[in-house]
Symmetry: C2
Subunit: 226 residues, 2 copies
């Protein structure tokens, strides 16, 4: 099993200090929901983010959306070989069943995530395809997972993921930063046994997902690791 | 060079027969633009699509968006080895420079495409990163391209793309259907020398893009075809 953990993802509800900001109030009117039930999205409330600590990297549900589409629709996932998890900057963990048919449309995805933050589970308690758990640090999330933790780090040595999988075996938990730029907030260096890079510069989270899922599939198809 | 051509993509402006439809009028009000300057998006004007021929597959700019993100942000594209092209159901061709920094946010992508349909080029004539040409059938689009045309077809025999690239060489034009389900509208059988499939069932366009770009990169990195 390959697990990809999107860590410190910039996915959060609008912080209460911003409820009174004009761009937030106009966005809430347009969406027809109060600010406390809306996800922070830098495209819609860009000017409000300037007043927020680390505002230049926050409010990126779009990254989570494309990351999850690439993971869940990968051939590896269709074969049952992938688990994608999201850990947020506020230590929420989101568990997504591989059977989930995620909305392709971004605005519907926002609606789904907003319902998830409200109810903790979607579509329903009886059919909990997506679950949210609070107070889940990256350390706590990784704790019960079997296999080797590996971090994708921009400044680490470049390696072919297939060689890495051959080294560490079939049970791998790859930690990928869920933010547009900057560093991990969580202590990934302490949590991962290995780190590597795929390219000499920064990559988008969906590029990393694409490289990891296709490489792991080749590794398994060639009988690697077992 | 690997070219991926998204063919018969469900990307179009709202057809004039729908201008009077209530869902279209309310969407136009919300967007603050007249219907003739808006892209057809099934998520926003779903009920209007019922009255349209082939309405169940039309209005999917979201597919084009994620496809282009996966292509343009791939390592292969960063290495200069990929060209991504879009051909639409109405025989428009969209040429995208690999240097284009596409909006990650879907709503901004819609705005960019709408400006492209209006002006034929974005961001400007001086800096034509994205160009639209009309009256460009798939045949006409493929005509001047060097290399072998290959179609990704759901009902063709499954092949590893690396083996296929080893067979046909480094100059490949892969034709991928840019619609959610159904068949090509263009006569792809007559235009492609080969066809193959990546998996036993239907795949999303971004999954195909992910498989093709990463496989072609492995093919080139291992010295294949040259």
């Amino acid at each position: 099993m390959l697990r990809i953990i999107l860590a410190d993802a910039e996915l959060e509800l609008i912080p209460d200090t911003l409820y009174g900001h004009p761009s937030v109030r106009s966005y809430a009117r347009r969406r027809g929901r109060p600010p406390e039930r809306l996800l922070l999205d830098s495209s819609f409330v860009h000017s409000a983010l300037r007043g927020l600590p680390q505002g230049e990297r926050r409010g990126r549900p779009d990254l989570v959306h494309v990351f999850l589409l690439v993971c869940l629709d990968s051939i590896l996932s269709l074969q049952g070989g992938l688990e994608a998890l999201v850990h947020t900057r506020n230590d929420e963990a989101i568990f997504i069943s591989p059977q989930t048919r995620l909305p392709k449309n971004y605005n519907r995805f926002l609606g789904l995530m907003e319902t998830l933050f409200e109810r903790g589970v979607v579509p329903s308690e009886e059919n909990p395809l997506v679950r949210l758990e609070r107070n889940m640090s990256l350390e706590k999330l990784l704790g019960p997972l079997s296999g080797t933790n590996v971090t994708l780090a921009e400044d680490a040595a470049i390696a072919d993921p297939i060689s890495l999988f051959e080294d560490v075996g079939r049970e791998v938990n790859c930690i990928v930063g869920g933010f547009p730029h900057g560093s991990f907030l969580s202590p990934v260096r302490d949590l991962a046994a290995r780190e590597f890079s795929l390219w000499k510069g920064p990559l988008k989270v969906w590029t990393v997902a694409s490289e990891l899922t296709t490489s792991y599939k080749r590794f398994i198809d060639s009988g690697g690791g077992g």
